[in-house]
Every structure is written in structure tokens, then in C-alpha cells.
């Protein structure tokens, strides 16, 4: 039987997403190391990252509340698989720590990198703080990673 013909397709394409009003305010805040969540006037849930509507109540979220740069690790994993960084186009190798951190003042968690990739040194309930990049430009990766509060 003859070999099947396979057709390789490569596509290089970039997208520019509008962040929206709520993420724009959030982005402007983190440029100044200020974290804000949006609060639902009905269920009182404070959302981070901010979004236009409360998913539970389907009400517009317009009330902003301050959130600490310190919080609690609610979930973690150590990723051993490399991933393509969409912002730089470069491959980031594992292992790296990844966590869900509930910052004080928020009811939902923020997904981000951890500076720790040793499973023996990670545990749910650990207190973590944001480590900022030296240069801030108003994007999620202004947060370099989270580290344990010593």
C-alpha cells in the first residue's frame, strides 16, 4: 500500500484582543501595583480578575473594591510540560509552579506562576504575596510570580 500524502500547514498569525472596560481599569491599576476586584451588588461576591457581569446573578459589576497583594494558596501544581508564551513567542520549559491564589479582599482566585517548583515546599493554605516585575506596563505578566510570605 502506498504512503498516504499528508499536507503540512503552518500559520503565523497574531491577534490583538480588546481587554474591555473592566480589564482596562484593572490593567491601569496593576501598572501602579494596585489590585482591584469588582463586587456584585446582589450576591456580594468579589471577582478577580474583574469582568463585566456576575455569572451567578447576571448583573453588571460596577463597584470596585481594593484587594491586597497578599493572599492564600488555594490550589497548586508543578507543570513539567513546556508551553509557548503567547506574548513572547518563546518556549517556557518546566518544571514551574502554578497556583490559584485568593488575594485578601477577593472571593475568587487568581491563576498565576509560583516561584517555587518543589512539591514538598508547596501546600494549600500557604500565605503568598505578589512579586512584581521591575518595569510595569499594565499586563497580567507585570506580576512576575507569587512567593511565600516569610
Amino acid at each position: 500500500m502506498s504512503e498516504r500524502v499528508s499536507v503540512p500547514i503552518e500559520m503565523v498569525q497574531s491577534w490583538r484582543y480588546s481587554s474591555g472596560d473592566s480589564m482596562e481599569r484593572f490593567s491601569n491599576g496593576i501598572r501602579h501595583k494596585r489590585i482591584e476586584a469588582v463586587k456584585c451588588g446582589n450576591c456580594q461576591r468579589r471577582y478577580l480578575p474583574p469582568r463585566p457581569v456576575c455569572g451567578n446573578c447576571h448583573l453588571s459589576l460596577t463597584e470596585w473594591v481594593p484587594v491586597s497583594d497578599v493572599g492564600t494558596l488555594e490550589a497548586w501544581t508543578v507543570v513539567y510540560l513546556p508551553f509557548l508564551d503567547g506574548r513572547t513567542g518563546e518556549l517556557r520549559d518546566g518544571p514551574y509552579g502554578m497556583g490559584l491564589i485568593r488575594l485578601d479582599g477577593s472571593d475568587t482566585t487568581l491563576n498565576h506562576f509560583l516561584n517555587q517548583n518543589d512539591p514538598a515546599k508547596l501546600a494549600v493554605g500557604m500565605r503568598m504575596r505578589i512579586v512584581w516585575r521591575d518595569e510595569l506596563h499594565g499586563a497580567m505578566d507585570d506580576i512576575l510570580h507569587f512567593e511565600e510570605v516569610s
Binding site: A75, T77, V78, V79, Y80, L81, F83, G86, M98, N111
Partner: protein, 349 residues
């Protein structure tokens, strides 16, 4: 409410790599289902397909299969999710008296591209894509929360993966011992390579038909549900969406959710901790046979996964001695089980 008979099923795979084109592979499943139902293309009133553009490498990925599913000059709807969700939509078309005979088809070929890289692009583009979060990372976060206060979890999951792999007949899943699984490479801790369902290529097709239960298994109830996309919005240790989908399906089938009993359960588990989430969310107990063919751990095609469980349940109910029994079928898609679908299948008379 009309009785929906599962008139016929067909499937190709799962195989590690199907060398055929997508239309050829899909046609294989469609031809088998039509032959099983003993009908021709002309008797199909409507078609519902399930596929995901990212996996197929083209937008509106159903355009590649329009002819082979027999959808030219017919109503076709396409679901960008698991095939079991497409089955839910097909059933609703019949219950709404819109059509009498609906062909439901799901397909995917993971051999075409790196699946892990693709699922990163299924995440929120502002917050999560730049962090490289994909379905594997989401599963690791979820499993780790479950394992936090359960020091036996990893061994238990390794044993379950070992048993499911051993039961498989597709040839895709390497038979591994519990200790080999525990020694396999970590993907996203605490999950290891041996605990991940091996991904491959395949297509499934099911013919749904208004009729009676005299001719074989019937679809008695369906339900589906969507949770928030963000992992941080959810309680990861409980598949609340599955509980809601299950309750809806039970209501449709006139079963009390708390007391519903099933002879067979066919959960969609890409990782062993998901089977525990499934049992918690549905209340299935020890009296139910679970995935006798190894389930997805024996070989898995995303998008087709839940529908392959429907086909497995259908075949089990058609076996001698199983007529009149009841099966619960499950499918999920999205990061850490964001979207859930359930079908209740009763064996025919």
C-alpha cells in the same frame, strides 16, 4: 413525550493515528451507523455534528464533513464541544417534533497537531493564555486540591489507571502496573503520564429515531450544564455542573435523582481523579458496573469522548442478558470539566 430509540451506532477508533482524511474517517463511522440502523441517507431528517476548530485546523470545521454526514440540502447544526452535547441537541430536535430521525456525529484527530499546545488557546486570552494555562495544567490543579489531605490518592489513582488500561482492547493504551504508573513521568503534579488517557483519532455516529423501545435501547433523559470558565470561580473538588446536568437528565427520565439506580455507568475520565468526581457528583454507588471496556483510559479522542461512552453503553445494553437494564453516560469538555453532559439510556424490551 416521544420515545427516542437509538437506532444504530458506528465508530472508528480510537486509534493513535488514522491515516485517512477527516471526511474519510467520518464517513467510516456514518456508514457503520446507517448500516446498523438499516436505513439510508435519505431517511435522515437532520444532522448534528460535534467538532472543534482548533483540533481540525480550520474554522467552521463542519464544512469538511458536510457531504459525508449527508447534510447537503438538510438542516445541520454544529456543536463545538463533546459529542454527547450534540446528542442532547439531537434528542431535543426529536422531542420538539421538529424531526423524526437525527444523525449525530462527532470527530477529532489529535494526531494532526500537539494537543497540549492547542488547549492553551481554548483558555481566556487576556488572563490565562499568557500564563500558558492549558487543560493539563487545569487537571493538575484540580487533582492536587483533591490529593491535599488524602495521602493515598496517588496510589489509588495509579491502581485505577492500571485497571482501566488493562480492560482496554483498542491497543492504544500500554498495559502498565500500578508501580510503573507511579514511576512514570510527572506531567502536572500529582498526575503522571500513566494516569493520562492516551489521545488518538476517531469518529462516532449515532442514529436517533422517534419510535418505541421495542427495537432496542432508548434515550430516556439528557441534561447538560456549563460552569464559569475561570478555575478560580469554581469549587474544583465538586463537579457542580455535573450534578445539575444529572438532575436535569433524571427529571426528563422521570427518575428521582437521589434514588436513581443504574446498572452501568460510562463516565468520561481523561484522568483517574475525574472518576471520583463523577461518582461524587452523581451519587453512583458500588452496585453499578463502571467502564467495563476501560473507558477513556483505554484510548481517548477528545470531542468524541462522551459519545464513545454512549456507544459503549449502547453495545453493553444490546448484549445478551442486559436488555431492560439502565445506563448512565457522561461527557465533559473545557478546562477541569467546565461543561458537562449526561444521558440516561434504558435497554429495550
Amino acid at each position: 413525550m416521544r420515545t427516542i430509540r437509538i437506532a444504530g451506532v458506528g465508530e472508528t477508533g480510537p486509534v493513535q493515528q488514522d491515516r485517512r482524511s477527516i471526511p474519510e474517517m467520518v464517513l467510516g463511522a456514518v456508514d457503520l451507523a446507517l448500516a446498523d440502523a438499516q436505513i439510508g441517507h435519505g431517511e435522515i431528517d437532520s444532522v448534528v455534528t460535534a467538532s472543534v476548530d482548533l483540533f481540525d485546523g480550520l474554522t467552521a470545521s463542519n464544512i469538511a464533513v458536510t457531504e459525508v454526514v449527508g447534510a447537503v440540502m438538510k438542516p445541520e447544526a454544529r456543536i463545538a464541544g463533546d459529542g454527547l452535547a450534540a446528542t442532547v441537541h439531537g434528542a431535543c430536535q426529536i422531542w420538539a417534533h421538529a424531526y423524526d430521525t437525527v444523525l449525530v456525529v462527532a470527530h477529532a484527530k489529535t494526531s494532526m497537531a500537539a494537543n497540549g499546545k492547542l488547549t492553551q488557546w481554548a483558555m481566556d486570552p487576556i488572563h490565562l493564555q499568557p500564563l500558558g494555562v492549558n487543560f493539563s495544567a487545569a487537571a493538575g490543579l484540580q487533582a492536587n486540591v483533591l490529593a491535599q489531605h488524602d495521602r493515598h490518592a496517588e496510589k489509588r489513582w495509579a491502581r485505577l489507571s492500571c485497571e482501566r488500561r488493562a480492560a482496554g482492547t483498542s491497543g492504544m493504551a500500554k498495559k502498565l502496573s500500578q508501580s510503573e504508573i507511579l514511576a512514570s513521568e510527572i506531567t502536572t503534579s500529582p498526575l503522571r503520564n500513566g494516569m493520562c488517557a492516551p489521545l488518538g483519532d476517531g469518529a462516532c455516529a449515532v442514529v436517533l429515531q422517534a419510535g418505541s423501545n421495542a427495537g432496542g435501547p432508548v434515550l430516556s433523559g439528557v441534561g447538560h450544564d456549563l460552569e464559569a470558565h475561570g478555575l478560580g470561580d469554581r469549587n474544583l473538588v465538586h463537579w457542580a455542573g455535573l450534578t445539575r446536568a444529572f438532575d436535569r437528565a433524571c427529571r426528563v427520565a422521570n427518575l428521582p435523582p437521589a434514588d436513581a439506580r443504574f446498572d452501568l455507568a460510562e463516565p468520561s475520565c481523561f484522568y483517574p481523579h475525574e472518576e471520583e468526581l463523577f461518582l461524587r457528583a452523581t451519587g453512583i454507588d458500588g452496585g453499578t458496573v463502571i467502564s467495563p471496556d476501560g473507558g477513556l483510559m483505554a484510548g481517548c479522542v477528545p470531542v468524541v469522548a462522551g459519545m464513545s461512552r454512549l456507544v459503549a453503553a449502547f453495545k453493553w445494553l444490546r448484549q445478551t442478558g442486559n436488555a431492560g437494564k439502565r445506563a448512565l453516560v457522561h461527557g465533559h469538555w473545557g478546562p477541569a470539566g467546565q461543561a458537562q453532559a449526561v444521558a440516561i439510556v434504558d435497554g429495550g424490551l
